[in-house]
């Protein structure tokens, strides 16, 4: 079923490329223009954000941008407003584009609006700001689909029903909140299928390993059957907690995880199915979009189509999951199951 969905999505993507390719108005970036950019993650020191940085650097070199690409952000565990000084600094520096994974809900909006008013495009990625507070959002996957994917993973792991708890990042993380809402909507809309899965709790580990670990222990003590963590930090911490408690296979762990971080747990049976997309690609696509906006090649209007290097052609569209929002949809999901671990196992660098 999932593979089928993926296949359909793939075909749709190919066909959209074909259709768009037939038109002449695909904007192609002109390399070598000097554009100073800032890539602002939720926190520094988290692997997926480093991967996004890697992708952005790849695009930076590919486009031969003589300008700078700064990767700055708050330290782990800082508050919802910790990104604001980085935004205002970027505005003061007069950078040409800001790329932000929002960790502050609406808290950062006044700061990004200030940037927009100063003529600086704000491209949100991973976690959007607001429709008014950004030029366009680079959506890794469709937010409603994330809810569906998590619900399906839960259904697969709890075929006879059971209790599920969510271990999220911070309570202000826009992306996680939307995914959780989408998951709740899927569960509520189709009681025939998902009626036996009971969502009993939502807790927040603030994207810090220790907090997440402790929250996971709390959930284990509550006796939940499945911990669903829509954050790579959370799922790894939950798997570790289950492992340390010696409950592998009794308390199931699922959510969004990095293969490199999860494969050990999956091999030991301490984590089950999980999903993710490529953060390297996300950083790459975000960079291309921001570069095109900063060089005035595109305006950030719905319907504009552009080429993003090796990743192909994308179109800015209305975001159906957020009112007045505009997005570039990357996709697709990759789902990593214990059954086909041989297909996704990654070679880890021994250090």
């Amino acid at each position: 079923m999932k593979r089928f969905t993926l296949l359909i999505m793939f075909i749709l993507m190919l066909s959209s490329i074909a259709v768009v390719g037939a038109q002449d108005d695909v904007v192609v970036a002109e390399p070598g223009q000097e554009v100073d950019m800032v890539l602002l993650p939720k926190f520094l020191g988290i692997l997926v954000f480093d991967q996004a940085h890697e992708g952005a650097l790849e695009a930076h070199e590919e486009l031969e941008n003589p300008g700078t690409l700064e990767f700055v952000g708050p330290g782990p565990g800082e508050g919802a407003d910790a990104q604001i000084p980085f935004i205002t600094s970027a505005v003061t520096q007069g950078v040409d584009a800001i790329m932000i994974s929002n960790n502050g809900g609406e808290v950062v909006e006044p700061a990004t609006i200030e940037a927009l008013e100063a003529g600086i495009p704000v491209v949100s990625w991973d976690s959007p700001v607001t429709a008014e507070g950004e030029t366009v959002f680079i959506a890794q996957v469709d937010f409603d689909e994330t809810g569906q994917v998590m619900a399906d993973m839960a259904l697969k792991l709890l075929p006879d029903g059971g209790t599920m708890a969510i271990l999220s990042a911070t309570p202000d993380a826009t992306n996680q909140n939307e995914w959780i809402e989408a998951l709740q909507a899927v569960l509520a809309d189709d009681p025939e299928t998902y009626g036996d899965i009971e969502l009993v709790d939502i807790v927040y580990g603030n994207d810090q390993s220790e907090d997440s670990y402790n929250e996971a222990l709390g959930l284990i003590d509550q006796g939940v059957d499945l911990i669903m963590a829509p954050t790579t930090v959370g799922i790894a911490a939950a798997a570790k907690a289950v492992q340390d408690e010696g409950l592998c296979g009794e308390v199931l762990v699922s959510g969004l995880g990095l293969p490199a971080e999860m494969q050990g747990f999956v091999e030991d049976g301490c984590a089950q199915d999980f999903a993710l997309w490529s953060f390297v690609d996300l950083g790459y696509l975000t960079y291309y979009t921001a570069y095109l906006l900063a060089t005035d090649a595109i305006e950030g209007e719905v319907g504009e189509t552009f080429e993003a290097g090796r990743m192909g052609v994308y179109t800015i569209e209305e975001d159906p999951t957020r009112e007045d929002g505009k997005r570039v949809l990357m996709g697709p999901f990759s789902i990593f199951s214990p059954e086909d671990i041989d297909n996704w196992r990654v070679e880890l660098d021994e250090e």
């Binding site: 800032v38 520094l44 700064e70 700055v72 952000g73 708050p74 330290g75 800082e78 508050g79 919802a80 407003d81 910790a82 604001i84 000084p85 980085f86 205002t88 600094s89 505005v91 003061t92 520096q93 007069g94 502050g104 809900g105 609406e106 808290v107 909006e109 006044p110 200030e114 309570p171 202000d172 939502i202 807790v203 927040y204």
Partner: protein, 334 residues
């Protein structure tokens, strides 16, 4: 004699701060042509205004020989209480009033233990640090409460009054008021006298308990106000709001030349210290240093701010030992 020596020493510390400030500003202006823009200069203050507001009252508390570690938790609790009331349909004006009254009550609570039961303020307010934060978490749990009325949100934004936010206006007013109180009023003198020696103050007829009580009430009340200002600046409240701010606030005060042992320090020194810390953070931001580096640099400054004056004092005493003894043999009780 004691007065004279203190004054000259502080003057050099303040001169030192002023020198650092000039250097920081010069470096910053090199880093960015936008540094001297009005927007940036307002941002320098805007983003930390709540901390520096609380730093003013913290100055008096520390000069008085006490400490208030509960300020940041109090800020978080006040904001959470306001948000909790607002969520339950209480009119925001009334919610603000209730929050401020609760701030006064908590200040009385802190003050009673310190002033009348003689408990160390370190312990009392450490309990407050944990307790008021816990209360905030009980009220809001993991939620983030927002959607306050537009007039409330606008308090925290620039352009509330001229180019300034309400926080900056409050800071300016409090700074002047407390500078006058500390340096030109009887109350201010009592604050210093008690900080130098509680016993001497009592024998001199100073109402030690009353002074301490007033300071702790002011501290909790101003912290509540600062908490509300953060809520208006950010437009939403979480229970962990302002977490860890007490360390930044105390850093600013100590860097301003206020002695952690009490009895010494000036509002002007703290004002300079505020400018140094804020401009330094702004400059490091403009130079694209991350949050961790910024925290380490400010931490290093704190260590220096405690070390340098103590070493200077030590050297001064060592050098001028004979002369001072001759001039003021009675000052050895210092």
């Amino acid at each position: 004699m004691l007065q004279n020596r203190d004054w000259s020493w502080l003057k050099t510390w303040e001169a030192f701060l002023a020198l650092i400030l000039v250097i920081v500003i010069i470096v910053n202006s090199q880093l960015s042509e936008f540094f001297f823009g009005t927007d940036n200069l307002i941002n320098v203050f805007q983003l930390s205004i709540e901390k520096v507001i609380v730093a003013i009252i913290m100055t008096l508390i520390i000069i008085n020989g006490e400490i208030d570690l509960s300020v940041a938790s109090m800020m978080g609790f006040a904001a959470s209480l306001f948000a909790w009331l607002f969520e339950r349909g209480v009119a925001p004006e009334l919610a603000i009033l209730i929050t401020m009254i609760v701030g006064v009550v908590i200040g009385l609570f802190n003050g009673v233990w310190v002033a009348y039961f003689g408990l160390p303020s370190l312990a009392v307010t450490l309990a407050g640090l944990v307790g008021y934060r816990g209360a905030a978490r009980i009220l809001l749990e993991d939620r983030s409460v927002g959607d306050f009325p537009a007039w409330f949100d606008s308090l925290g934004q620039p352009d509330w009054l001229g180019p300034f936010s309400a926080g900056i206006v409050v800071f300016a007013i409090l700074f002047v008021i407390f500078a006058v109180i500390l340096h030109y009023s009887a109350f201010g003198r009592y604050v210093y006298i008690i900080g130098n020696s509680r016993d001497a103050a009592r024998y001199a007829g100073v109402r030690v308990r009353q002074v301490k009580m007033i300071l702790f009430v002011l501290s909790a009340t101003i912290s509540s106000l600062a908490g509300l200002l953060i809520a208006s600046r950010l437009g939403s409240v979480r229970a962990n709001q302002a977490e860890g701010f007490e360390l930044d606030i105390i850093t600013i005060v100590l860097l301003g030349g206020v002695s952690i042992f009490g009895g010494r320090g000036t509002i002007i020194g703290v004002g300079l210290s505020i400018l140094v810390v804020l401009n330094l953070r702004n400059g490091m931001g403009l130079a694209n240093y991350g949050g961790n580096i910024q925290t380490s640099v400010v931490g290093t400054l704190l260590i220096l701010s405690v070390l340098i004056p103590n070493m200077a004092q030590y050297l001064q005493r060592f050098e001028g030992f004979g002369r001072k003894q001759k001039l003021s043999p009675s000052s050895s009780s210092d």
